[in-house]
């Protein structure tokens, strides 16, 4: 293992890595050791053309680019010398001679590396009197991206991204020299399932997403770490929030999960948090058969009363639970505990499937199917059969995915039930047959953990607070347990305490809770295969 010294800091590097890669591996790049760079990106091939990462290496007469210089044992690198400073100043000045300097109307302002590095490393005045290059503005590159040719610094990250990651290769640089310009082939568009990543990796304001453009100044946003809930991959994200609203998801780097990427569908799934069809009001079915608004407390009390009546008259076997793979490990652990305390074994897991790809997108279209299986929820079909056959009278159901044609295909089978208690984030037809409706919290609104397809437990935290009375399913079920007077449901709901109990009750979760998984997540002690929905680990 070669040892190198950077600005007096000694570190061990892996053989075959370049200086910048070694610093990135060690977590020191831009985190103690500042080597500004544009074209280099940790997850793309090395380009070596922006020349901003030049450093002084002892024994080399010329400055060397840190991105492409392989580490050698004993290498001594300096990043803060006068020569390095001057070189950076040169690159910055030359990058800016044609830049439109339109920061006031540029959507990237505030998270623009041209701004940041010009401030940190550039000259403080312009020396050019030549007219700036006029180029195409507001180019409609495709369904998701708008392009400003004048702002482009030709780092070609986006070009390499399209060639190397989705392998769609829509972008290229035409012509040469100062006439070089980023383009798509005339008539073809930048259109792939990962297209919006180009806006993230664009270090300047050249590529912006149509979705986020001009919605808000980025400096008003808080970046809350979280997890995308679009599929079982569990891509790590930052939720950009302001005034209790989520404005965007940005991929958050996690080399074990999503590297630095996210699919477009997942990225846009933030919209479901603030969607108009969010379920905002608890309700109970009144005497006239209509749903009437109620407080969550009253609704839970009503649900408890109906379940109690059935259990007392027919026994606990007529009560069943349908878990959702959208719910957190904590929600599901409480659900499991409640069903067990009631004495019923009727339970199933609803998770919808769809198309997967070779990159990130997984077949299961929910974030926590693996966690649900680890917590003992399995194939829902036997339960659905019993429902259809009249063997079930009360159903506690999370979400409405069960209405999907692949499962019930409608509300008919549920209409016959005595009691349906629905916990959901969004409106659906399921309300028509529900007797108690309880608004639930989205993963962006609660504290908990989600287990991705590979068994990595990752945490979410409240990034926004619903403006209406909504409870996490764990809390709804907890309060229900309390109202039913069940053993093990004493005192107030405490999300962290529930999380702490995961590992105690479920061997797969040994050593895992909200605190311990950190922001990078942690693998389950044992993994439950996604293909065998009935298998549980107990």
């Amino acid at each position: 293992m070669p040892r190198i010294t950077v600005d007096g800091v000694e570190l061990e590097a892996s053989a075959g890595r370049t200086v910048l890669q070694a610093l990135d591996d060690a977590g020191l790049l831009m985190n103690g050791i500042e080597i500004p760079h544009y074209c280099w990106h940790p997850k793309l091939s090395i380009d070596g053309s922006c020349r901003l990462c030049q450093v002084e290496i002892e024994g080399f007469p010329k400055l060397q680019i840190a991105c492409n210089t392989p580490v050698k044992d004993g290498m001594v690198i300096h990043t803060r010398t006068e020569r390095v400073k001057r070189a950076r100043e040169g690159v910055m000045e030359l990058l800016l001679i044609h830049h439109p300097l339109d920061c006031p109307i540029c959507d990237k302002a505030g998270e623009c590396k041209l701004q940041d590095y010009a401030f940190d490393h550039g000259l403080k005045h312009a020396r050019t009197v030549e007219p700036r290059r006029a180029r195409k503005k507001r180019v409609d590159l495709g369904p998701t991206i708008v392009f400003d040719q004048e702002r482009c610094i030709l780092c070609r990250r986006c070009v390499r991204f399209c060639r190397e990651v989705p392998k769609t290769g829509e972008l290229g640089v035409f012509d040469r020299g100062e006439r070089s310009v980023l383009e798509t082939f005339p008539g073809l568009r930048l259109e792939n399932d990962y297209s919006m990543n180009v806006a993230d990796i664009c270090p300047v304001g050249a590529l912006t997403t149509k979705d986020f453009r001009f919605k808000i100044r980025v400096w008003f946003l808080d970046d809350v770490p979280g997890v995308c809930t679009g599929c079982a991959n569990g891509c790590n994200v930052f939720l950009g929030t302001a005034s209790n609203k989520v404005y965007r998801y940005l991929p958050r780097r996690n080399d074990a999960v999503n590297e630095t990427w996210i699919c477009d569908a997942g990225r846009l799934s933030y919209k479901e948090i603030g969607a108009a069809d969010r379920l905002r009001e608890s309700a109970v079915r009144g005497e006239g058969g209509r749903l009437e608004p109620a407080s969550a407390q009253d609704a839970i009390a009503r649900a408890a009363a109906r379940i109690r009546r059935l259990v007392d008259s027919k026994g606990p076997g007529v009560v069943a639970g349908l878990a959702s793979a959208h719910a957190t490990n904590e929600d599901l652990a409480v659900f499991k505990r409640l069903l067990e305390a009631l004495g019923t074994e009727s339970a199933g897991l609803v998770t919808l499937r769809g198309a997967a790809d070779a990159l990130l997108v997984k077949e299961e279209k929910a974030a926590n199917a693996t966690g649900a299986r680890a917590l003992g929820f399995g194939d829902p079909r036997p339960l659905l059969e019993r429902i259809r056959g009249g063997g079930i009278d009360a159903l506690l159901v999370m979400g409405h995915d069960v209405l999907d044609p692949s499962l019930l295909g409608g509300t008919e089978a549920l209409a016959r039930l005595d009691t349906v208690v629905l916990m959901d984030t969004h409106h659906s037809d399921l309300e028509r047959v529900a007797h108690v409706v309880l608004p639930a919290r989205h993963a962006a609104e609660k504290l908990g953990t989600l287990t991705n397809f590979a068994g990595r437990v990752q945490r979410v935290r409240p990034a926004v607070e619903p403006a209406w009375e909504a409870l996490a399913e764990a809390e709804i079920l907890w309060r229900l347990g309390v109202a039913l007077g069940l053993a093990g449901f004493e005192g107030r709901f405490d999300a962290r305490a529930v999380s702490k109990e995961l590992g105690q009750r479920w061997p797969a979760f040994a050593g895992i809770d909200w605190e311990s998984v950190g922001d990078d997540g942690r693998l389950l002690a044992t993994l439950v295969a996604g293909g065998s929905p009935a298998a549980g680990t107990r």
Binding site: E170, F185, P186
Partner: protein, 155 residues
Amino acid sequence: MVISAETRAKIETEIAKVPQKRGALLAALHLVQAELGHVSLETARELAELFELKPVDVQEVVTFYNMFYDRPQGRHHAYVCTNLPCSLRGARTLLKQLEAHLGVEAGETTADGRITLGHEECLGACAYAPMMRVDGVYHEDLDLAKAKQILDGLK
């Protein structure tokens, strides 16, 4: 299909000569241009298919090199070298005179589509300046009269 079967066959021959298919792309572009005069978007698409590339990869190459044209050209090409050795010997003056003679500016094509006039960087005829390259043939030690005569002889 805009690229003829004959040209396609020639391209296949070029491909067979190189270790990797793409290595014949420049040769293929020369061939299609010899047939079609320029590389249209349609031609670029067809080449991309032939070479198992994205159209944008072909277009990058077309736009990078001086000798490939992405738009229609005159029937004849006349390029005056205006690099330093030629300029020292009056090449830029000659080019201006030829612009006046043909009624176009460098880079333009005469209205009748006969000649595209242009200037080029050093063509390796420095001692024989001024010079021009007409349809690939070098004409050296020129003066205005000789140059006009050459251009006027083009049909």
